[in-house]
């Protein structure tokens, strides 16, 4: 005989403030098989859990219903509590009285109580049909794949490697460093980006536990948490990595000029070049789209770099190379892109050479940049007499991206300070802003510092920017504090472009079947409580691919993600949730609908011999299945069920929801 215990949580006043918890507990006692029903202020607290455990022992309860908050919040807590009392943890049913009753129906307490009773009734009907399930343990690979060699990937790799795990760091560019390597100085301390980043880049290259794979991309992923099989494609550099010493003699010899990607195309490099001044690894790479020999496919053409190279490192016959890896966990750190301001037509970016983006300003201001650190107008290469910064370009804008880019304000403050320091007191500096957001540690003080440096803050955004014949710019901006239309003239306008989702993000979505949020960035499992992981087990997030971030937040998230991976892999084995799809082979017709739908590629179609005939049957790879239920819902023959969510178990709940209809209607499967 089943004995059910029902526990109603007050959740302080979150639930008890709306529904009558005592009434619900009394009602639960009238339901068939319910032996105990209680209510308590905080069921999740230690005394609450002990109450349940004592009842299980004293009343020999074998099924538990807990009417409380969302199962995403405390299902795990209660499973643990009942298993400590000797009950199988999967014999617990959570009824969500907070998110589904008290919060949405706070205006109608009576009806809410009725709904709560119905939901408890449904929960009791279902819990009686639950079956005990066992968790399965699998061993894990103690290797980690980190994708993206920006500051997020670098920090995560170093933390993991120091903890003793083997790390494969994959970067698609010829050097690691990412966006941070392009920056001049960093807010709010104004320490130079290269000075704090380069040592870390070198550490990565030297660390015995890190295998650095630059110029490489992940092309396919198979497997499941703890046991991923990954294929990485190493694109050819056409330079032997073992021989190249980074002397740049080849670059000096190369006759082909190519826009320099690292300098945001503000200067030129050569068809054979080293990616950046601080590149790690410092190895030359040939750009096959520009190299004369490779473009013409003629062996007699050019070849000046081959003559110049003393190490004999150049090898035009290099082929792409695929590497197979087995890893236990993956950290996605693919970063973001800078918004393309030419889409905002009224600001004239792309039409007027002196309207530049904030990342271009970084390169112009950087000592290793195209101007050697002198701030000069791109059009005439003269120092500007006045600079204007325009905030919120492409972000907080419903036409482009609705979110706040979280870095634009601070970047402009920093750039305004740098401009003041480099160009002296005679230069007029304006920052046209809407809301200036200085939210981080030390950021408000940094804003104060900018205010003290005679920088004009204009509360208003210009409608458009116009150019004179000599390339200087002018615009009107209405200043809300003074109620005056300012007619401003600027030699240089810097647009505070936001961060936007990159192509890398869409590629990660395809490869790892991870989800994206509405803004296009990668979606975390829970915005507050699980911000470092994807909903797919074993995949973790770090840096600006999850949401726009500044350097301190990125580094913090990267270290957090690394700690999460260490937590996952340290014991050498992991337990898997048993809530999986199960196929009834007798009912399966081999139609392959489930195979086409499964977002985790957990369905395998296998040939089976039956009565001398070959038949196709679906098989679930248990460790890969996440129990989402798509296959079960779509299966035309009803052959697939999800453990704990079988038709019988769900329909028992449905008929309790509509008790009158169940009496009239027929039987169910």
């Amino acid at each position: 005989m089943t004995k059910v215990g029902v526990y109603v949580c007050h959740c302080g006043l979150n639930i008890a403030g709306v529904v009558d918890v005592e009434d619900i507990a009394n009602y639960a006692l009238t339901l068939p098989s319910v032996a105990v029903a209680r209510h308590y202020t905080y069921m999740c607290s230690e005394p609450g859990q002990r109450m349940i455990q004592n009842d299980i022992k004293a009343h020999k309860l074998d099924r538990i219903v807990i009417a409380t908050c969302s199962p995403r919040m405390h299902e795990e807590t209660f499973r643990k509590a009942v298993s400590e009392a000797g009950l199988n943890p999967y014999l617990v049913e959570i009824v969500n009285l907070r998110e589904q009753v008290s919060w949405p129906h706070s205006e109608e307490p009576q009806k809410a109580t009725e709904k709560a009773k119905a939901m408890v009734r449904m929960g009791v009907a279902r819990v009686k049909l639950l079956e005990p399930l066992e968790r399965q343990s699998v061993s894990v690979e103690k290797n980690v794949l980190v994708i993206g060699g920006g500051i997020a990937g670098i920090q995560a790799s170093l933390d993991l490697a120091n903890a003793g795990l083997k790390v494969y760091l994959v970067e698609k560019a010829p050097s690691i460093g990412g966006r941070m390597a392009q920056l001049d100085k960093t807010f709010p301390t104004l320490d130079c980006s290269a000075c704090i980043l380069t040592p870390k880049m070198v550490d990565v290259a030297k660390h015995p536990n890190i295998a650095l794979l630059t110029n490489s991309e992940v092309t396919s992923v198979k497997g499941f948490v703890g046991n991923y099989e990954v294929t990485i494609l190493r694109n050819p550099r056409f330079v032997d990595e073992a021989k190249c010493v980074g002397c740049e003699l080849c670059t000096q010899a190369c006759p082909v000029k190519v826009p320099d990607r690292f300098n945001e195309n503000l200067s030129q490099t050569c068809a054979i070049s080293i990616y950046s001044p601080h590149a790690v690894p410092k190895i030359a790479t040939i750009n096959p789209a520009y190299c004369l020999k490779m473009k013409t496919k003629n062996k007699t053409v050019c070849g000046k770099c081959v003559q110049a190279c003393e190490a004999k490192a150049i090898d035009f016959d290099q082929e792409p190379e695929a590497i197979q890896l087995k890893v236990g966990g993956v950290i996605l750190a693919v970063g973001s892109e800078v918004f393309d301001a030419s889409r905002v037509l009224e600001f004239g970016y792309g039409r007027f050479p002196n309207v530049i983006s904030n990342i271009e300003f970084e390169r112009i201001s950087d000592a290793s940049g195209p101007t050697g650190g002198k701030i000069l107008n791109p059009k005439d290469q003269k120092p500007p007499r006045s600079i204007a910064f325009v905030q919120c370009v492409g972000s907080r804008d419903k036409r482009f991206h609705e979110y706040c880019c979280r870095v634009g304000c601070m970047v402009s403050l920093k750039q305004a300070i740098l401009a003041r320091e480099k160009l002296g007191k005679k230069v007029d500096i304006y920052v046209c802003y809407n809301d200036l957001r200085a939210f981080g540690k030390g950021y408000e003080e940094f804003y104060r510092r900018a205010r003290d440096m005679d920088i004009n803050f204009v509360a208003g955004i210009p409608s458009d920017i116009r150019s004179t014949a000599d390339g200087s710019l002018y615009f009107d901006v209405f200043e809300s504090g003074t109620n005056k239309l300012l007619e401003l003239h600027a030699d240089l306008v810097v647009l505070a472009n936001g961060l936007v989702p990159s192509d890398g993000i869409s590629k990660m979505k395809e490869l790892f079947h991870v989800l994206r949020s509405r803004d296009g960035f990668l979606l975390e499992a829970h915005p507050k409580l699980r911000p470092l992981e994807c909903s797919t087990a074993g995949i973790f997030l770090a840096g600006a691919c999850q949401s726009p971030k500044d350097i301190p937040d990125t580094v913090a998230q990267a270290s957090g993600a690394a700690a999460k991976v260490i937590d996952l892999l340290s014991s050498g084995e992991i337990e898997l949730e048993p809530l999986k799809a199960v196929v009834d082979k007798d009912l399966c017709s081999g139609c392959r609908i489930c195979e086409s739908l499964c977002p985790f590629v957990a369905v395998e179609i296998k040939k089976e011999e039956k009565d001398g005939k070959e038949e196709l049957k679906a098989e679930i790879i248990e460790v890969v299945c996440q129990g989402c239920g798509l296959c079960s819902a779509a299966c035309p023959t009803g052959a697939i069920k999800i453990e704990q969510y079988s038709n019988k178990q769900v329909l028992a709940q449905v008929s309790e929801a509509f008790p009158a209809a169940a009496h009239k209607g027929g039987s169910h499967r």
């Binding site: 919120c392 208003g460 209405f478």
Partner: protein, 163 residues
């Protein structure tokens, strides 16, 4: 000081059919670029905010709403997809419904449309050789006055009050 009138505000909201047109962040981009600002002191952001706060009656009876040149710059460039233009048109309709006196200059433009089909009469221009030309001198076709039926339709539309 005036008190907000939320009933009038509701009337504007009904006319706009969409709360989004009032979702203003006060970035003031509209006023920075307003064609009517320099000469006529129209501040679109102020109108957005005033309507949002419920000061509709003052606006509906003021001359300022008739200065909008309907260039649609504010509508096109607004980061919040709010549209001071649509709010101003809604205010004008409310004013006409309340039989507020429409400024003479505006009525003059209306009568010009009735007569010539254009808000402005064609003007003479100076070419590169510093000669003053009219349309004929530039070999542009003559502008014909609007058809009779246009006037009838227009006048009828003016007389028909929204119910």
């Amino acid at each position: 000081m005036a008190k907000p009138n939320l009933e009038s505000r509701e009337k504007i909201l009904t006319r706009l059919c969409d709360r989004n047109l009032l979702n203003c962040y006060l970035c003031i981009k509209c006023t920075s670029g307003c064609t009517a600002l320099k000469l006529l002191e129209l501040k679109p952001h102020e109108i957005e905010k005033l309507v949002n706060l419920g000061f509709v009656d003052e606006l509906a009876s003021s001359d300022i709403i008739w200065t909008c040149a309907t260039c649609l710059k504010c509508f096109q460039r607004c980061p919040q997809k709010a549209s001071p233009y649509h709010v101003i048109i809604a205010l004008r309709n409310l004013a006409v419904e309340r039989e507020v006196k429409v400024p003479e200059a505006y009525m003059k433009a209306v009568s010009q449309i009735l007569e010539g089909g254009l808000a402005e009469q064609p003007q003479k221009v100076t070419n590169k050789k510093m000669e003053t030309c009219d349309r004929e001198g530039l070999k542009l076709p003559k502008i014909r006055p609007p058809k009779e039926s246009f006037q009838t339709v227009f006048l009828k539309a003016l007389e028909e009050k929204p119910s």
